[in-house]
């Protein structure tokens, strides 16, 4: 046997080994999915696939939003409440004109496109507020967004009167829950395309624009970035503002997807988004994180939920398992850096 051949085989094996050991959580869950798939009939079904895709799509948008904050060593705890706020506003404005439980009876029935614009502008405002508190008032992002998330939740409660909101215009729910194709159950939800478009957009921003490079530079070493002439203030404000827009979009979609909205919608989504990013390799020490990684992280987290659901695990235990996965993922991530020291 040729010695060279052996070597190249070995290095290929090593490469695979490296990928697997580098992403242990991802591979463990894939194995779990295959096992569950073999045990349960409906797991590998198109219906389940469509379900996974549309769930992942919305979470992915939120994770993209928060990823910029994480890469610059910040965080955004207001993500979930911003999603809830956007859902409430979108829900109220998209209620049918003839719906008896209409909250704002004085308002005319609005085209859903206009509602989308309003919601996004409001999201941008929340993001700007977060960004300005972090950069101008020098409040650490953790505390700044902890404060704003409480404010936002309060406002959501006020404007929704703490009531669930329903009676949406038909076009709102049907458009967003729409899908392409129905060949033996195979279909692609519209939400998938939204996720793909924004995934590509963020990939472009992160890799090809000055803003993206500045973001990674701030995460890598904020002082060095400032000294190199990066306007760190503007860059950070843009990051938080962009995040606000993404949460608003997610909230708008989520209200339609669920066919109803309430102030408590989106609760805890910030933690899921942060967990997804971390599992996907966004480093908690800053400067590292890719869009494909974030996608994988979110997908894996949603996969975990579906696996638990199919196994018939008591839903209350879901939280326990999800929490364990988060701690495990981050501790494995940190280990990579400790080992290198």
């Amino acid at each position: 046997m040729d010695a060279k051949q052996v070597n190249s085989n070995e290095s290929a094996f090593n490469k695979i080994k490296k990928v697997v050991t580098g992403n242990p959580i991802v591979f463990l869950l894939l194995i779990a999915a295959i096992i569950v798939g073999c045990l349960k009939d409906n797991f590998f079904s198109w219906a389940n696939f469509g379900n996974l895709v549309s769930n992942t799509a919305v979470r992915f948008l939120i994770a993209l939003g928060v990823s910029g904050c994480l890469i610059t060593k910040g965080t955004d705890l207001s993500a979930g409440r911003q999603v809830g706020f956007a859902a409430v506003v979108a829900g109220i404005l998209c209620q049918r004109g003839d719906y008896t439980g209409r909250l704002w009876k004085w308002a005319p029935e609005m085209p859903i496109g206009v509602v989308l614009i309003i919601v996004i502008v409001l999201g941008l405002c929340w993001g700007l507020i977060n960004g300005l508190i972090v950069t101008k008032l020098h409040v650490p992002p953790f505390i700044a967004t902890l404060g704003t998330q409480t404010i936002i939740y309060g406002i959501s409660l006020v404007i929704s009167d703490a009531q669930p909101i329903g009676g949406f215009q038909k076009i709102y729910t049907s458009l967003i829950n729409g899908r392409i194709g129905n060949v033996r159950g195979f279909h692609l939800p519209y939400l998938l395309f939204v996720a793909v478009i924004f995934g590509l957009l963020f990939w472009f921003i992160y890799n090809m624009t000055c803003h993206g490079k500045y973001m990674y530079a701030i995460g890598g070493n904020e002082v060095a970035a400032e000294v190199s002439g990066v306007n760190t203030t503007n860059t950070l404000v843009r990051i938080y503002a962009t995040a606000g827009v993404m949460y608003a979009l997610a909230g708008y979609l989520l209200a339609a997807k669920s066919g109803g909205a309430s102030a408590s919608m989106g609760q805890g989504y910030e933690l899921e988004a942060i967990a997804g990013c971390t599992i996907g390799g966004v480093s908690t020490t800053g400067g590292i994180g890719t869009v494909p990684g974030i996608l994988v992280g979110v997908l894996v987290f949603e996969l975990l939920k579906i696996i638990l659901q199919f196994l018939g695990v008591n839903p209350y235990y879901n939280y326990v398992v999800q929490g364990l996965v988060i701690v495990l993922a981050v501790s494995l991530d940190i280990r990579k850096y400790i080992a290198k020291k």
């Binding site: 490079k213 070493n221 000294v227």
Partner: protein
């Protein structure tokens, strides 16, 4: 019984790439003030940190009362009677004087089954100690409310409370006024009367000659000698401190300084202890060296010019036009660039690639249609710099933290050259870099000056200043104390200006 209370012999200590201590030694007699002198980087602080157990020495021996001992950590040093007052005081400002002094060894009393801190005893003891160091402020006062000299007295009181036999004072007077220095000297006299051996580290010649009994001089981590203070003069000390030979470590310089292009007038910091009323000019194609001791505020001045630090008054002109610089971006946009001193802290972005690091301050140049960065242009920039400066990196995608210090520094120089600045400020450009890479960086500096760039180079290495500068500006304690022509510069006349305290 040994005549020395503490002896350190043949102490060696290496850091990656640097031999900080090379068979250093120090012998302390009880009841005497022993001055430890040397240039910046001569190894004084490293030697003290070995004695105090902060660093572990590679070789060498420490004897206390003639008995060999091993000092594991600062707590162990305290138990063995060695106390140290650091150059940078590290008190806990929000706690009281008493709590700071007894931190980590609070007096306890039994309160039934639990032990609690005995506050009454702690404050009584503190009052006693403060009396000993001739200070009369309230033991319950918050340390943050004290002046710098009072904080220092607290530190000394802390050392005294440990019943120390050796007290190390590292540049204790660097932030004191003349009256406060007198007060400190009285405390030192009290301590020596009680047979404490005091190690006194300072650059101030007059103080050394006045207070010390013996003087040990170090140079490049080596022991040069110990003298009785009465035998020494300022000139003698300086000669011993800097007396190394200049070898051919520098490239020949062919740059020709042209007309004055850059001018700084009456530049003053917002911090009264920092740089003040600084005036200087810089010519096209000139290398202006900036010399001075640690604490001369050279870095602060340059960071002020570059917009990292604030100033209250002063103007900066380039070719007669006044520049307004309030943050680094403004400086860069107006043709001023600065390679900062702390490569890890404010230079490299460790986890990012060589390409990202080199292009970060000139990204706008590589934009296509104003939006997307053209990766090929960035790659070209990397390759040009790799070729020009002989940067050793596996690829442009390698994380910069995995390169050697010298190569990291070259990448950072490349970052600034990509902007084509008119004025380039280099703060300790060769610190922590091996000799070969140093020479390459000198060549780059010389070449830049030849191309007509104006260069300001801060350096704490005398020979580097003399070897590389057309002119040397010397600072002391925030003021410019003089300019020396590169040809006339000697280590002695630089040191004389650098120690010209008010």
């Amino acid at each position: 019984m040994s005549e020395y209370v503490l002896e350190m012999t043949d102490v060696c200590k290496s850091f990656p790439g640097v031999k900080a201590l090379d068979h250093a030694q120090l012998r302390l007699r009880p009841g005497k003030v022993h001055a430890l002198m040397g240039e910046n980087g001569a190894g004084k602080s490293t030697l003290m940190k070995c004695m105090f157990g902060i660093y572990k020495m590679d070789e060498g021996q420490i004897k206390i009362d003639g008995q060999p001992v091993t000092i594991h950590d600062p707590m162990d040093a305290l138990h063995k009677g060695i106390a140290m007052v650091h150059q940078e005081l590290q008190p806990i400002p929000a706690r009281t004087v008493g709590e700071n002094i007894f931190l980590g060894r609070y007096p306890m009393k039994k309160f039934g089954p639990v032990s609690v801190v005995d506050h009454a005893k702690m404050y009584a003891d503190t009052a006693e100690l403060l009396k000993k160091v001739r200070m009369n402020f309230d033991p319950k006062q918050k340390v943050g409310e004290l002046s710098v000299s009072q904080m220092q007295s607290v530190e000394i009181a802390k050392a005294v409370s440990a019943n120390c036999r050796v007290l190390i004072l590292d540049e204790p007077t660097s932030s004191l006024t003349a009256n406060e220095v007198e007060a400190l000297f009285r405390i030192i006299e009290d301590l020596t009367a009680e047979n404490v051996a005091v190690v006194y580290i300072s650059h101030k010649m007059d103080e050394i000659l006045r207070i010390s009994d013996e003087v040990t001089i170090m140079r490049d981590g080596k022991y040069i000698g110990t003298w009785d203070a009465s035998e020494l003069t300022t000139d003698k000390i300086i000669t011993q401190m800097v007396g190394r030979e200049l070898t051919n470590l520098y490239p020949p310089r062919n740059n020709v300084p042209g007309e004055v292009v850059f001018e700084v007038k009456d530049f003053t910091s917002i911090n009264p202890r920092s740089f003040r009323h600084v005036n200087f000019t810089l010519r096209k194609g000139e290398i202006l060296g900036v010399g001075g001791l640690v604490g001369a505020q050279r870095t602060e001045l340059m960071e002020g010019l570059f917009g990292i630090r604030s100033h209250t008054s002063g103007q900066i002109f380039y070719k007669g036009k006044e520049l307004t610089i309030d943050r680094p971006k403004a400086a860069i946009d107006q043709g001023v660039a600065m390679l900062t001193e702390d490569r890890r802290g404010s230079g490299i972005m460790g986890v990012l690639s060589v390409a990202d690091n080199i292009s970060i301050s000139s990204l706008k140049k590589y934009l296509e249609h104003g939006i997307a960065i053209n990766g090929k242009k960035v790659e070209q920039l990397v390759q040009d710099n790799v070729a020009k400066m002989n940067i050793k990196t596996p690829s442009s995608k390698t994380q910069i933290k995995s390169l050697s210090g010298g190569n990291q520094q070259k990448v950072l120089v490349g970052r600034w050259l990509a902007n084509d600045p008119d004025v380039l400020i280099l703060d300790e450009p060769t610190r922590g870099i091996d000799v070969g890479a140093k020479y390459e960086i000198y060549c780059i500096i010389e070449e830049l000056a030849r191309e007509g760039k104006s260069i300001i180079m801060i350096s704490s290495e005398m020979s580097e200043l003399i070897g590389m500068s057309d002119r040397i500006m010397v600072m002391c304690d925030g003021r410019v104390t003089g300019f020396i022509d590169g040809k006339d510069a000697t280590q002695e006349n630089i040191m004389a200006l650098a120690t010209q305290f008010e």
